[in-house]
Symmetry: C2
Subunit: 397 residues, 2 copies
């Protein structure tokens, strides 16, 4: 894909990159200028701590407390860890929880970089079963867990992972009731295993936040060790690469920090200082206020072009998202849009890239889904890319 992305003329609806035109050039410049002018020694250019800059951790705790009423800032601060993007937090979590051969429950579809990481660690992904409406199916989950127990797999089940707000790839959010059912069914079986809630896109709603508490405050999850992850970079500037995790379990957090000490002994202090400043002075929220309508407009452009060009009439279905960076398209069941499919090759030849949906399933992957991102492209290029996609879809109809 890296090579394809460098091919001139090719338009990428694949890359999960963010919009270049709205990147916060002024905010970053001002933050660095202010850091340079502050009195005293320029500690922001010195090593930080393994766990993350105390001032930033505090601001992150305050932001999270505002999202999740009832949690104390002090407790959130005490469990906060700053990482090289939320990706590093995911890696650390899996590295310390899992051995090769272990099993992790994942949402269906799920974040494909996480799934690839599991493969790299020799860990198996098992999909959370869905009902006919695409929601987590408690009864089917009961049967899955019973089957796993019968096969002696339960002792190798180490965690459950999902992207809960405007998900990558599905753009869907998990309702409170779904998360609660999941916890209840696990608890019934005594499986109070660590849960990873990936809230990477929670800030990226278009009009209003998705109204669902996270596992941190949903009562059904109380007895579970919890890691709530998010990133500052998708919402601000991906080039700054700062993510974070709040971990409710001290022993788990300490293990992750121990390994992080070996990985890099701390995320770049400079970047954390920039975020401390832009969050503290309101620049972070101002940037969010700018990009939310920008992404909504780009979503509507892609969505509208696919509709106007007649993709629904070809039997394709998708939901219009209310946040995030993706459209998740379901092709007619008989059409193979998967990796290395004829359709996939035809799209590259037509000059448009997408993420084959089969990459986004932990197991039992259907081959008639596609993830289209409107993060990078905009304007005429986005419309052109959408037209090329529908041109290929028409040819395969």
């Amino acid at each position: 894909m890296a090579m394809a992305l460098e091919t001139p003329g090719l338009l990428s609806l694949a890359a999960g990159f963010t919009d270049n035109k709205t990147l916060p050039v002024g905010e970053v410049r001002t933050a660095v200028e202010e850091l340079a002018q502050q009195p005293g020694e320029p500690e922001y250019l010195q090593y930080g701590t393994n766990r993350g800059r105390p001032g930033l951790r505090r601001l992150l705790a305050e932001r999270l407390a505002a999202l999740e009423p009832g949690l104390a800032v002090e407790a959130l601060d005490a469990g906060m860890m700053v990482t090289n993007g939320s990706q590093q937090a995911l890696y650390l979590a899996m590295q310390v929880l899992c051995d090769p051969g272990d099993i992790v429950l994942v949402d269906r579809p799920s974040y494909f970089v996480f799934l690839e990481m599991l493969t790299g660690l020799g860990v198996q992904a098992r999909s959370l079963p869905l009902d006919g409406d695409g929601r987590i199916d408690g009864e089917a989950l009961r049967r899955l867990l019973a089957d796993m127990e019968a096969r002696g797999e339960t002792k190798r089940l180490k965690a459950v992972y999902f992207v809960s707000y405007f998900s990558n790839p599905s753009a869907r959010s998990l309702a409170e009731v779904e998360k609660t059912v999941l916890a209840e069914v696990l608890a019934e079986r005594g499986l109070t295993i660590p849960v990873l809630e990936d809230a990477a896109y929670r800030d990226l709603y278009y009009r209003q936040p998705y109204a669902a508490r996270s596992v941190l405050t949903l009562p059904a999850w109380q007895a579970f060790p919890k890691l709530y992850l998010a990133t500052l970079t998708k919402s601000f500037a991906t080039g700054l690469k700062v993510g974070y995790g709040f971990c409710s379990d001290r022993a788990w957090l300490d293990k992750m920090l121990h390994v992080k000490g070996h990985h890099d002994f701390g995320t770049a202090n400079f970047n954390q200082a920039v975020f401390e400043r832009v969050i503290g002075d309101g620049g972070f929220e101002a940037q969010l206020a700018r990009i939310r309508p920008a992404y909504e407009a780009k979503m509507r452009s892609l969505h509208g072009t696919l509709e106007a060009e007649g993709l629904p009439a070809l039997g394709w279905r998708w939901a219009e998202p209310t946040g995030g960076l993706y459209l998740w398209l379901e092709a007619p069941r008989a059409l193979d849009t998967g990796m290395n499919s004829e359709f996939c090759h035809a799209c590259v030849r037509e000059g448009v890239l997408y993420v084959p949906g089969d990459l986004c399933f932990g197991d039992d992957a259907p081959r008639h889904f596609a993830r289209l991102s409107f993060g990078v492209l905009g304007g005429d290029e986005l419309i052109q890319a959408a037209r090329r996609f529908v041109t290929v879809a028409r040819r395969f109809a």
Copy 2:
């Protein structure tokens, strides 16, 4: 130690941090300002690539080619990988080469964070034997390798690691003849195992570079897979956290990049863009020209105070370094200066911290060494710290 460092009044000769007063505030501010003003889209705030920014990799290849005549810039560029400090390159190298129970040969003494990382990965360190002058002893190494073979350990020997210029902790540099003997003895036994040369302090000479080629150009190492590591942050601004490695072996490099993709899929692009600019416009070399005499002056202050206060008369010995951030002190053999020793506790009570030397040995650790850093402290504080240290030494004489 983290707690001790925050205790007011305590002076740290322990932390391997760099000098705050000479941090390149102006260079960083200017670089960010210029990035903000460049025409076109602000790609420096967007995701970069897993392997590192092409322009920076090229500059790093050019710098390395200038240090190691005979190597082609293109070949260096092709093997270059940018990481979250050189620490991440060390971790990736060990993660892909070693399984628990494996063995790595290390210099004596060695970088204690590397040794801790090996412990974390379940890997054993075995020290390279030294002669009476403290140089790598080829004959003793032959005997060690023969013993290892007799014990069936050779197949678990996966790599050799050393810090070769103004080392942490010893401040010593490895002569070409030492590196060559090491390669020859390994090759005699058919052990052309991967070699990691950690050149983190190569830029930090005081008056002139240490005249020794690295394993990249020393003929005896030609057949070995080689990873040459260095950092931009010790030499410029530790808060920016960018290191790099050049790997001569494509398969090894690909494995490291694969795992890096799971760790974080790329080091912060913004930081790499700052380095691309400051290296490209000469700011990086200018900063080096500023800090070299500053560190030499601090070294002389610490060294001179220890001498003037009479530490040599108490039986302590050390070499005056010609680069780097450390003094490596040998106490009288009977004096225990190791971790949790009476001497160590007395120093904390006196208000001075150092790194107990026993932490810096892969095995068979002597307990009468101490690493003193003049990286952070300066002026009266450095002198005061040195006096406190000698006060304690006098009490234990």
